[in-house]
């Protein structure tokens, strides 16, 4: 069950994790991109958090819409429209609802994944956050329950680590060709953290992955 207060707590918790991980995400992006993924994400989610303090907290659709619009207007770059798309799809799915169940959540995540693919036109295996969103959505679809949400977070983390071996086919890292191999995709890591905090806000008891030691 995701309530509006759990949603707000999720955004807050994710923002805190991004603050912690900003250097790591910048560093990963520096190795295979332009070094700003952590900076972009923290800028966006700090703004989103701020925005939520003045958003009526009774409609998950409105809250998601507020996050989406804030990310859209504060991030820029590739990750801005992508993460904004996620929350726009959440908003469409949860419009007018003050709480949603695992089925609604599953549908929203699947919709978000489809939105990301439509927006970024990346396929699985191209070393983008699609490599995380795709297995996470599939795991949830196969098991649209609270335990499925936990399983999705686990699948997301594994997939993010797995991007290390891939050669980028989309995004800035693609210009490096073979040289993009050997570094985890920063957007995939921020997405895995997303699923971790998402599951923790809804189900609770999720252990934090030690990303810095795992991927740097």
């Amino acid at each position: 069950m995701l309530t509006t207060s759990a949603f707000i707590a999720f955004i807050q918790a994710y923002t805190n994790r991004l603050d912690e991980l900003q250097p790591l995400l910048d560093q990963l992006d520096n190795q295979i991109g332009d070094g700003d993924h952590g900076t972009n994400m923290t800028r966006g989610f700090h703004a989103a958090n701020e925005r939520l303090t003045s958003t009526p907290a009774d409609d998950l659709g409105a809250l998601s819409q507020a996050v989406a619009m804030t990310l859209l207007s504060s991030v820029g770059g590739a990750s801005g429209p992508l993460y904004a798309t996620v929350f726009l799809r959440f908003s469409a799915q949860w419009k007018g609802q003050s709480q949603v169940d695992a089925k609604d959540i599953t549908e929203a995540i699947v919709q978000a994944r489809d939105g990301l693919v439509a927006r970024g036109k990346a396929q699985v295996g191209e070393k983008t956050l699609i490599d995380v969103w795709s297995p996470a959505a599939q795991t949830l679809q196969a098991n649209p329950t609270e335990s499925g949400i936990l399983a999705a977070a686990k699948a997301a983390a594994e997939a993010a680590v797995g991007t290390r071996e891939l050669v980028a086919g989309k995004g800035r890292a693609a210009y490096l060709g073979e040289r993009s191999r050997g570094t985890c995709d920063p957007g995939s890591v921020s997405s895995a953290v997303f699923f971790e905090e998402f599951a923790n806000a809804i189900v609770g008891g999720v252990e934090k992955t030690p990303w810095p030691t795992l991927v740097s």
Partner: protein
């Protein structure tokens, strides 16, 4: 890092202020990072933009004969869709809007979202994506090539087409033809430093240059030992000529673009080689531009852009334009 700046968070804002204070022919939409012409024109409107740090791009190309609006993002970061949408709203008349976008995932997605929003508001928007950087291999399996300094030729040609009263579809078609015919490649002699990070974007030894550089401080496609200006020009020009399939008798325009810290004298030394090589191949240079058009902050280096001209492209390139960074 030594920069002439105040608080780093105000860099883009203060730069835009300084720009409109210098050029009364530019106006900044209040509360945005959008520069528009002081006087709105009745024609197809052109909107471009991208991250900051490329000055005079893109605001320097706003004015009669070129762009109607330029949207500035954070340093080397695509502008956000809301800003782009503000630009579209401000400049569109009843003849539609063409967005000229450089091929970077971020730029493409942000402009695309803005276009969708504008379309929802009933504004007719078309988009062209510039991908002139031949340093990046082109194949159907990749995201395609980056957009670099050749974009300025596209601004100029689309601008002249719009000014000439062409309808939106034709302006877009002409812009696409310019894109298909422009090929560019750059080289860096030293990196640049984004103010917020304070760290050089990469490290180069005293005897190394970075070939096939982008315009956001990203490393290029390979690192090589430094050598004479003529040799460096040849490396870039060989790749460009091969890709552009330029032949004896062809008409071209040449853009020798400084990346920020390279003295104009060095750009002219490079141009000497470019002009002689093209002359030797029987290629007719119709116009040469040597200056800073699309920079990477204080990066040392330059890029060459070659635009193959047909009759119409030549006419549009030569049409009058009066912006702060391009006059003809």
């Amino acid at each position: 890092m030594k920069k002439l700046m105040n608080e780093v968070g105000h860099y883009v804002d203060q730069m835009l202020d300084g720009m409109v204070l210098a050029h009364p022919e530019l106006r900044r939409l209040p509360g945005t990072t959008v520069l528009v012409r002081a006087e709105k024109a009745d024609k197809v409107a052109l909107v471009s933009g991208g991250g900051s740090g490329h000055e005079p791009a893109h605001g320097g190309f706003v004015g009669p004969g070129m762009l109607d609006a330029a949207v500035a993002g954070e340093m080397f970061t695509s502008p956000t869709p809301d800003q782009i949408l503000e630009a579209i709203r401000a400049v569109h008349g009843d003849q539609g809007v063409l967005l000229i976008v450089k091929n970077y995932t971020g730029d493409v997605m942000n402009f695309e979202m803005a276009a969708e929003m504008a379309t929802m508001e009933g504004i007719h928007v078309e988009q062209v994506v510039v991908d002139d950087d031949v340093a990046v291999q082109n194949s159907t399996h990749t995201i395609g090539r980056r957009g670099i300094a050749g974009t300025v030729f596209v601004h100029k040609i689309a601008g002249a087409a719009a000014e000439a009263g062409y309808p939106l579809e034709t302006v877009a078609a002409v812009a696409k033809r310019a894109i298909d015919n422009v090929h560019s490649m750059g080289v860096a002699l030293s990196p640049c430093t984004v103010p917020a990070s304070g760290q050089p974007s990469f490290q180069l030894a005293d005897d190394e240059i970075e070939i096939g550089i982008g315009i956001h401080g990203e490393p290029g496609v390979r690192r090589e030992p430094i050598r004479s200006a003529d040799d460096v020009v040849d490396t870039l020009l060989d790749t460009i000529l091969e890709d552009a399939a330029v032949q004896a008798g062809d008409d071209v325009a040449v853009l020798v673009n400084g990346l920020g810290a390279t003295p104009l004298s060095e750009l002219y030394i490079a141009n000497r080689r470019i002009a002689r090589r093209l002359a030797k191949q029987g290629v007719n240079i119709q116009q040469t531009r040597v200056a800073e058009y699309m920079t990477s902050l204080e990066m040392a280096g330059f890029s060459i852009s070659l635009l193959k001209l047909d009759h119409e492209l030549a006419k549009l390139l030569n049409a009058p334009a009066t912006t702060t960074a391009w006059r003809s």
